[in-house]
């Protein structure tokens, strides 16, 4: 009984965050510190969100953004995790590519748009690749450091059993760095989403949440703008939540 209540409570905890956010917003709105035109009531945003999804194009935009983000993130993860493990397993090797990783991690995607436009044309590819690239670096960085910071005893144990370097990476290092990998994946999926939205805003697109957002900004439709932001943020939370869930399933030994 209490256990079930507790479980329900803990399932509802994330909702507390939503409530807090909306409440703060409402307070800020009511306080009058910000012009009501510039920061509409959360309720107006909610209405715009509802209308956008039910009668407007927002549902389609949302799906477009989800699709692009998924593609971009998928590419990044598939390349980033193994590369990160291999690089992390040899710190000397990692140091030699560190410049490139840190360089591009510190360069705004928007600054790279011209180059990616040139390389990949003006279609969806450019957006997806630039987001992939950004997410890839973050994932690779996190995984590599996860590997470098991992305890060495288990690697030694596997080596004493005659495991080849490749087996050690697959059977030990991969698992050992898994908690850090999940952090990297969550950083990566958020970044992929951010870049996709920025690309939709600034490389030009005829759909997607970013397009909806910049259009609303240009047209000064503040409720719609905040609705698009809210949809994007909630999407980001949702993606993160998926990974958190997966992590809790997979990394059962965490902290033990």
């Amino acid at each position: 009984m209490t256990a079930r209540l507790a479980r329900l409570g803990s399932a509802l905890t994330p909702l507390a965050g939503v409530v807090v956010l909306l409440a703060l917003w409402q307070l800020l709105h009511l306080s009058g510190a910000v012009d009501a035109l510039l920061l509409p009531a959360p309720e107006a945003m909610m209405r715009a969100l509802w209308n956008g999804f039910v009668t407007g194009p927002m549902a389609f935009d949302f799906l477009q953004t989800v699709w692009r983000t998924t593609l971009a993130f998928g590419i990044a993860a598939v390349i980033g995790i193994p590369t990160g493990i291999v690089l992390g397993a040899s710190p000397q090797l990692y140091r030699s590519v560190e410049f490139v990783v840190d360089f591009f991690r510190s360069t705004p995607a928007s600054a790279m748009f011209p180059l990616f436009l040139v390389l990949f044309g003006v279609g969806d590819e450019a957006k997806i690749y630039v987001a992939s690239f950004g997410a890839l670096l973050v994932i690779l960085f996190n995984v590599a450091y996860g590997v470098m910071n991992a305890r060495k005893t288990r690697i030694l144990a596997a080596r004493s059993m005659g495991a080849s370097p490749a087996r050690i990476m697959r059977d030990v290092i991969f698992w050992e760095s898994l908690p850090q990998t999940f952090i990297g994946l969550r950083n990566g999926v958020s970044l992929a989403l951010v870049i996709i939205i920025v690309a939709e805003m600034f490389i030009g697109s005829s759909d997607g949440l970013g397009h909806r957002l910049i259009e609303a900004q240009m047209l000064f439709r503040m409720p719609t703008m905040y609705a698009a932001i809210f949809a994007a943020g909630a999407l980001g939370y949702g993606l993160n939540w998926l990974f958190a869930l997966l992590e809790r399933r997979v990394v059962h030994w965490g902290g033990r």
């Binding site: 035109l37 600034f202 490389i203 240009m218 047209l219 000064f220």
Partner: protein, 302 residues
């Protein structure tokens, strides 16, 4: 392959497409939405688009300086006090009804549309009415999507902005118009002068490769321009296709769209003067004659 920057000056493209003029001339278009001049110029140089539906002339000239003939204008858009595009707005209650009123009000916090071309135009205009930077005004450039917010928030006293932002600001009460068509009035010297700030351009490579297609495209474009001049319902196409609020689409000012061969001698002189201003201000690194890059294509045989 047409690069479109989805603002009101791209209207001819949508008219030609929706009203079937492209189809009539047997042209298939592939629309690439590009946000802003650099992206358009990059796509032209990289040969990823054949036509830019709307390209700022100064940016076009800049591209031509880098590689001669990259941007050849088949049509240009004039803006002035009648065909309002660029304008100065003032915050609510500033109480200025012309730029001259600003003298002595300083120091004014001014914002400008982004980019050196816009900044220099804005500064040039203010200086032309006798305001000095530093003492009478300070200038900050701001991305277009933030203009309405900034004026509404009262961050600036005056702002140099473009349509449709100006109309939106007035409609929501964020700002009041001070003066429109300021380039013509203050930089070119006459309120009815024509400031050819943007236009439709083709890449030289495209014209060479497919002169025939280029000519048919221009013919379709010409029909679209004619429609826009005579038929206000063409503006319906602004809605949804461009960043223009539907409630202002029918009423907001628009530039005058002119095919290259429709320019009078006076127009040509105005065009040269505008580009020379850009050169003088260092926006363009070297002198360039814009008339060399106007292209008049023959009527296609049908």
């Amino acid at each position: 392959r047409v690069g479109v920057f989805p603002v009101s000056s791209a209207l001819p493209f949508f008219v030609a497409r929706e009203r079937g003029y492209f189809a009539a001339f047997d042209i298939e278009t592939e629309e690439a939405r590009l946000m802003g001049g650099p992206a358009v110029v990059g796509a032209m140089i990289g040969d990823q688009i054949d036509v830019a539906a709307n390209l700022v002339t100064i940016e076009g000239m800049n591209a031509n300086l880098l590689r001669s003939g990259v941007a050849r204008f088949i049509a240009v858009n004039a803006q002035n006090a009648t065909f309002q595009m660029e304008q100065f707005v003032g915050r609510k209650g500033l109480g200025a009804s012309s730029l001259a009123d600003l003298v002595g009000m300083g120091p004014l916090r001014a914002m400008s549309a982004p980019g050196p071309a816009n900044i220099q135009a804005a500064k040039g205009v203010l200086e032309a009415v006798g305001l000095r930077e530093g003492t009478d005004f300070t200038m900050t450039e701001l991305a277009m999507n933030l203009h309405v917010d900034a004026m509404q928030a009262g961050t600036f006293d005056i702002g140099y902005t473009l349509e449709p932002n100006g109309t939106v600001m007035r409609d929501v009460g964020a700002a009041e118009l001070i003066e429109a068509g300021v380039i013509a009035t203050h930089l070119l010297g006459r309120p009815d002068a024509k400031a050819f700030a943007a236009g439709a351009a083709m890449t030289g490579a495209f014209v060479e490769r497919n002169p025939d297609v280029a000519a048919r495209f221009a013919a379709a474009w010409r029909l679209a321009l004619a429609d826009i001049a005579e038929d206000p319902t063409t503006r319906e196409l602004l809605k949804g296709n461009t960043f223009t609020p539907s409630d202002v689409a029918m009423t907001m000012p628009m530039p005058e769209f002119l095919m290259a061969d429709a320019l009078t001698d006076q127009d040509r002189a105005d065009y040269v003067a505008l580009i020379r201003f850009a050169v003088d201000r260092g926006v363009l690194e070297q002198p360039i004659d814009p008339l060399d890059y106007l292209i008049e294509l023959p009527e296609p045989a049908r």
